[in-house]
Structure formats: structure tokens, C-alpha cells
Amino acid sequence: MTERSNEQWLAELRGPERDRALADLRAVLVRGLRVALRGRVRQGLNEAAEDFAQEALIKIMGSLDTFRGESRFTTWAQKIAVMTASTELRRKRWRDVSLQEVLDRYGTHSGESDRLADEQPTPEQLTMRSTMVATVQRFVDDELTDKQRKAIVAVMFEGMSLEEAARRMGTNRNALYKLMHDARRRLKKRMEAEGLSAQDVLGSIGEG
């Protein structure tokens, strides 16, 4: 395959004889995706790589004007291909799971602690722990919106994909990240206002 500069890639892809450049770019994307998808796609790896590469090529051709030349063109293109693939894989992985199921699942095992089963805490430690747990829980209930609490349970505790949780909550991943960041900031401010450091809290709840 011919080595091309960024300028050459753009010129050829925009030019009348773009087929060769398109074919070369497709080859780059497919090669990269075959490796990136290993372990993430159970069957039909090659076909998946081809399909995602094709989908990515359409996006790339539609957004050539947004390429700012801050990296190599092929790196930028591979980024789009990886995003295309990962979005689709996540959608499939979480297809049959509703947000309510995830929240309900949490409801069935919340309140238990794995650690308590192994340790032999003293009565004082138990009291301190339950006081601190209740305190943090109170901060959560006071400072956070219902949406923020749901997002934290689904994404942080139950490991749901941020993108998939966002979709089900009628928003996008960027906005949901910002919502969760705001939640963390509020809790941080509240803890500081109450004169509690993270160390104070962690030392009481867990192993510090």
C-alpha cells in the first residue's frame, strides 16, 4: 500500500479517482478492527470487521472537513472505526436489558457487604461503620437528583455501559457523564462542608 501524507489522503479521497484511496483506507481499517475485535466478537470476526469498516468509511467520507490534521489521517480514521464498532457491540450486548431491570437487580442485593462476611469487626467499628454509611447515604439522598442516583447505581455499581444507560434515560453519553460529574462534585462539596475528608469516610466504611 502506498504511504500517504495527510494532505495526499484528503486530496485523493476528495478527488475524482478516489477508489484506490478508499480501498487502501478500507484495508487499514479492516486490519485494525480484526485485532481490536478479537475477544469481543465471538463469531464472524472477519465479517464484523468488514461491516464496521464499511460503516466507518461512510462516516469518514461525510466528515473529512472536520479532520484538523493534529494526528495522522489513518489514526483519526481508525478512531472513527473503533467508535463505530464499539457502539454497535455495546448495543448488542445490552439489547435485552432495560434500565429498570438493572436498578431492580441492585435493589435485591444492596445493603449487603461482601467484606462483613470475612471480617470480625469490633462493636465500635460496626457502630462507626453504620454511622458513616448512614451519613454518606444521607448526603446522597439530600444532594443528588433521582436521575443522578439512578445513573450511579446503573453505571458505577452495576457496570452498565454509560452510553446504553444514557440511551434509556433519554439523553446522550456526554450529557450523562456530565450529570454524574456534577453528582460527584456535589457530594465532594457536601463532605467538605461537613468537615469530612474522603479518608475519614473510607477509613470507617471500608479498609481505608
Binding site: 494526528s71 478512531k79 445493603g111 455499581f157 455501559s161
Partner: protein, 101 residues
Amino acid sequence: MTMWNPDDLDKLVRMVAETREEEIGCDECFERLDRFVEMRFSGLDAAAAMPLVQDHLEKCGDCHEEFEMLLEAMRVSERTPTTWEQVWHFWSWIRRAFRPG
């Protein structure tokens, strides 16, 4: 209101402790990811040069997964042309060295 598991509250407090006033979102991280990954491949300290990207990747599972996939995809592109170039150069050298006359 469901009471949260102490282990999860622990996890939450750890995240709270690492919370910065300014954090970038997924869109901004994606925008800068190609530059970040290329810095890594160049042997530069990408985390120090782009700390907000590094921070986001540590906090966002989806973006972290995409970052890892891009790294793996890049390893193929970074390696393959160089390997074949080396093979080609070596073969050319062999042919020149053993050319009769």
C-alpha cells in the same frame, strides 16, 4: 429509597475523592483521543501532556474500552509497514551483496 451497599458507597467516595472541578466529557475525550494515542506510540508521556484525557479514561468505562481498542488497532498499523520495510531492505541488501560480477 434503596439503601446502598457499603462497598458501593466506598467505591463512590473514592470516585468523589478523585473528582476534579474541571473534567472533560466523552465528546471532548473522543475529539482528542487520536492525538493521545499517537503520543503514547511516540514514547511521550501522554498522560502528563493531556491530563484531562487521562483522567477521563480512568473514570469512563466506555471511553476506556474505545481507547484500548484503538491502541490494539494502532499496534497493527504501527508494526506492519515497518516490519515489511525491514524485510524488503534486508532482501534488497542480500541481493546486492550476492549479485554475481
